[in-house]
Amino acid sequence: MPFELETAVQPAGLRRVAIDPVSRVEGHGKVTILLDADDRVHQVRLHIVEFRGFEKFAQGRPFWELPVMVQRLCGICPVSHHLAAAKALDMIVGATRLTPTAEKIRRLMHYGQILQSHALHFFHLASPDLLFGFDSDVAKRNIVAVAAEYPDIARKGVLLRKFGQEVIRLTAGKRIHGTGAIPGGVNKALTRGERDALREDVYTMIGWSREAVTLVKRLHFANVSLYNSFGAFRSNLMSLVADDGALDFYHGALRARDAAGKLIFDHVDYRRYWEQITEEVKPWSYMKFPYLRALGPQTGWYKVGPLVRVQNCDHIPTPLADAARREFVDFGGGMPIHATLAYHWARMIEMLFAAEEIKALLHDEDLLGGDLVVTGERQRRGIGVIEAPRGTLIHHYRINADDQVMRANLIVSTTHNNQALNEAIRQVAKRYLDGRKLTEGLLNHIEVAIRAFDPCLSCATHALGQMPLAVELVDADGTCLDQLQRDGDGNVSQPGRA
C-alpha cells in the first residue's frame, strides 16, 4: 500500500513536475510532482539514482582490498566507508577485540571525519539558507556570500574542515585513499609530534564548534514557527548507541524508537541487523526502502542521522555537547523533535561532541602505542556498522575459501532515509506549490528540505560542465510544458519558455 502522495490514485490527466539535478554522471536525484487540473498535488516522489553497482564491483576482489576500495564510493565520507569495511573485516579475520591503540586511532579518524563533514555541511551548504532566508536571491545563498557578510563564520568553516582533514591525514596516512584501518587493527599510530600538533589547534575547534551551536540555535529561535514546521513529519528513529546508552559514532548496538520516543528495540547486536531491518523494492525508485520488520513497510520506516542520534541516546559523554543536547531535548518538551530543519541544530551539537572527543583522544597515551593488530579464528561473514555523518552505515560481506568477496551488501545512510526524504519533500510541496508554473521559490524550498539531509549522491564523478539542477513540467502524455534550469553559476534560466 503506497503512502499518502506517493502514488496518485488516477495518474491519467495529471501533469508532472520534474526537478532533476544532474550534477553527477551516475548518482543524481530527481523530484517528480504530479498535479491535477486544479493544481493540487497528487503525487510526490524523490528519485535518487543510488549506485548499487559497487556491490557487484566488489565481487571477486580479495577481501583485504575492501577498506581502500570502498572509499571510492564517496568522496565526501570516504572514511566512514573505510572504517565500516574495516570493522566488517575485523569479523572475518577473527579480531573480536582490537588493541586500545587500534581502536582509538580509528575513533580519532572517524571523529575527524564527522567534524569535517558536519563543518562542510553547515558552513558551506546550510548556512546560506539559514542566514539569508530561503527566499533570498540565489546568488546570495552560497558560502562566498556568507563570507562577504559574515567573514568570520566562513573562515572558521573552512578551517574547521581543514582541521578535520588533518586528523584524517595523520590517522589514515593520506589525505585521500587512506590505508590506516586494516583488518584487525591499524597500520600506524600517531607520533608524539603529530599528536602535539593536533593538540595545539583542538581547543580552538571546540570553541568554534560551541559558537556554531549558539548560531544555529539562535537562527532556529529567530523563526521558530517556520523552523518547527518546515518539511516536518513524524517517524520512527534508529541509530547505534553505546552499551551505556551514550552517543557513539564508531561502535555500539542498534536502538529504535517510535515517533513518540517509546523504545521499539534496544541493544540489538548489529551483526544480526537483518532480523530487525529489511528493505522493500518499489518499481518507481532505484533506491530501496528499509523498514523495521516488526512494524512492516507501512509504519516501520524510520529516519537516521544527527536529528535522531542526539535524541535516541541517553547522554553524550562530553560535557559541552551533553549540555547542548539537554537544551535541545528540553526544547522538544518531552517528545522527540521531528522538524526537518532541526537536523542542522543537532548536527552542530554532534560537531561539538566530535571536537571534544578528539581532544580527549589526543590526551590518551594509547594513541602512541605500538600494538596495532590482532587476529583470531577466520570467519566467512563480516558485518561492520558505523554512524556516518548522515546516519547509520552498514557494510556486509561474505567471502569464499580463497579470500575473495562473494557477496556485498551496503545500506548507506541515504537509503535508510529514503522514505524520510520523500516525506519531507511531500510536506514542502503541499505547502509551497502554488499555481501552474514552476517557480524558483518552490525550487528553493525543495532544495532546503533536501539540504537538511544532504543525501549521498553515490559518488562519483564530477566532471566539468554539468548542470546542477533542472526542472521540467510535463503533462501525462510526456509533453514538456515548462522548464526551469539552474546553472552552475547559480543563474536560473527557462529554456522551455518563450
Binding site: 571510492r72 553559476d489 547559480g490
Partner: protein, 163 residues
C-alpha cells in the same frame, strides 16, 4: 620555507572511467616533471571542496585540472575568475568557487587561476580510461610541459588565448 609557487589541483574518481583523467594527469605530470620540484605542489582529491582554498595560500599560480563531459575539443585551457556556486549538495564545488572562497576566507585576492579541462567520454564504475581520453590526456600533458616551463600568469594568459 617558501611554499611552491605553482599549485596543480586535479580531481576525479579513479574507478570511474574517464573521471580518472584528473588524478592520472597529476600522477604523470608529477612523474614527468624535469624542472625543479620545489616550484610545484601537486594536490589530488575526489572533488573540490572549500578547504582546497587553503592549498592556494602563498601560491603565485593555480592550475585546476579535471575531466569534462561537455567539451567539444580534446582539451581547453582557460583563465578563471572567482565566481560563486549555487548547489543543493556538499558533493563538490567548481574551481571558480574555490578561488572565490579563498578571497572571502583570507580577505585577499586569490592567485591567478587557470583551468585545464580534458574531454572524457565514459564514466562508468569499474571501466578503464577510454583510448580517446588517453589521447586527450597526452595532449593535456604536452600543454602542461609548456605551462611548467613558463610559470607566470602573463605567459599562461598568452597560452590560454592561443590554445
Amino acid at each position: 620555507m617558501t611554499p611552491p609557487r605553482v599549485v596543480i589541483l586535479a580531481w576525479g574518481n579513479p574507478s570511474r572511467g574517464d573521471d580518472a583523467l584528473g588524478p592520472e594527469f597529476l600522477r604523470r605530470a608529477e612523474t614527468n616533471l624535469t624542472l625543479p620540484r620545489d616550484g610545484f605542489a601537486f594536490v589530488t582529491d575526489f572533488q573540490l571542496q572549500p578547504e582546497h582554498a587553503t592549498d592556494l595560500d602563498g601560491r603565485e599560480l593555480a592550475l585546476f585540472v579535471d575531466a569534462s563531459s561537455v567539451l567539444a575539443s580534446p582539451i581547453a585551457f582557460t583563465e578563471l575568475k572567482p565566481q560563486r556556486d549555487a548547489t543543493f549538495t556538499t558533493h563538490g564545488m567548481s574551481p571558480a568557487a574555490v578561488l572565490a572562497t579563498f578571497g572571502a576566507a583570507f580577505g585577499r585576492e586569490p592567485p591567478p587561476g587557470f583551468q585545464l579541462a580534458i574531454s572524457g567520454v565514459g564514466f562508468e564504475l569499474g571501466a578503464p580510461m577510454s583510448e580517446e581520453a588517453g589521447r586527450h590526456l597526452d595532449a593535456a600533458l604536452a600543454l602542461f610541459a609548456r605551462l611548467a616551463a613558463t610559470p607566470s600568469a602573463a605567459a599562461w594568459r598568452q597560452l590560454a588565448q592561443s590554445v
